[in-house]
Symmetry: C2
Subunit: 206 residues, 2 copies
DNA sequence: GGATGTGAATGTCTTCACAGCT
DNA sequence: AGCTGTGAAGACATTCACATCC
């Protein structure tokens, strides 16, 4: 397969969202132009993005909503469910744990870890917050696919090194630090400070 | 001023972070190569990024840590403090409210709003969660610079329309939806679902 | 007729490579 | 000698525009 750019993958997620709305609204056909409007892009971009993976539309007509929905889910790997572990049971971890969208889209949090003895043992939904020391073994035993890192910046690299060693190949990092991972591991960062600073820059430059 | 790309601004934030670490560590000179290592980029990229704003280094030597620190803070608009309002006092809003990094970098949350009567009136630090109905007037009265949107997707566009009408020109959106704003308003999205789906894609494509 | 799929053209960002200071 | 600053080259991403098919 050709190399697919990160922006293309991001946009696929957005198209998927809009397709779900359209599907809920009972629409059964949609054009690249309609998808573009909602995704804040152009129809040519939509068609190009999709063309990397196949020809899903009908000329003169557009795309079948249910079919394109299914196709994009397949492309993004969302037709299966993923086992996720959450490391860090602080404020952010807790907010993520109860974030409904995750479960909804097949990302199931199966374990929560923390070092803080006052948090370990707490019941979170049907899970129990477990001690950090149990993490390495548990990741393997439970066959965890992805880890969400929600620990302080100082602790993040250490956690990630262990997570990688335990065989996990996808990490979503909320700690405000640039993590080092082998190129075989997929890493995404959610960096709220960087975003706010971007807004600050925008405000003083117009 | 030339048009500066979003990626350049993002990287400036990262450089700033390392400079702070370096400064805390007592380092007083740093090379583009060292900055690049930590930022996961190349020395040429660092120099190019900085060159859009001026010549801050000394050939043969590198950059003065305290000076570059100050310069980047200036460039990003971080030498002043920004007044931020938080809309949505749910789990995510609450986590953001106590996120220390924000205050630390001059982003001060000055007001919190929610529609839920069981949340309105609650004391959050030295603030009180206020009713959504008070928002429009309060944004103007308090001279709020930026708004963080942490409400459910269905409510987000409505909130943003009012925020824009109240004169706010920078918005950080946590709701999983693509918002429409006038081009005069800066908008950044933190979209955790999109990130997780990107990881899902990465996992099945190697 | 109308919207897709896609090479070609354009635009944007990154990397190279070296002249120019210190 | 060493590292910056920067045009030029190269890689990558987006947009154009049109032949193609329903």
């Amino acid at each position: 397969m050709k190399k697919i750019s990160e922006s293309t993958v991001r946009r696929l997620s957005l198209y998927l969202r809009f397709l779900q709305e359209a599907s809920d609204g009972g629409l059964d056909t949609i054009s690249s132009d309609e998808l573009a409007q909602r995704g804040g892009t152009t129809s040519a971009q939509v068609r190009k993005d999709l063309s990397f993976f196949g020809s899903f539309g009908k000329r003169g007509l557009g795309y079948s909503v249910p079919e394109l929905l299914r196709q994009i889910q397949e492309i993004l790997g969302l037709s299966r469910s993923w086992k996720v572990a959450l490391v860090g049971a602080g404020k952010i971890g807790s907010a993520l744990f109860s974030y409904r969208d995750f479960q909804l889209r097949g990302f199931h949090i199966r374990a929560v870890f923390d070092t803080d003895p006052t948090k370990v043992g707490a019941a979170w939904g049907d899970l129990t917050v477990r001690d950090d020391g149990e993490m390495d073994a548990a990741l393997r035993e439970q066959g965890i696919d992805m880890v969400i890192v929600a620990v302080p910046a100082e602790a993040a690299q250490g956690v990630v090194d262990r997570v990688v060693k335990a065989g996990v190949r996808a990490i979503l990092n909320f700690a405000p630090i640039r993590l080092r991972v082998p190129s075989s591991v997929a890493l995404r960062n959610v960096d709220m400070t960087v975003e706010l600073e971007g807004l600050s820059f925008a405000l003083i430059n117009r």
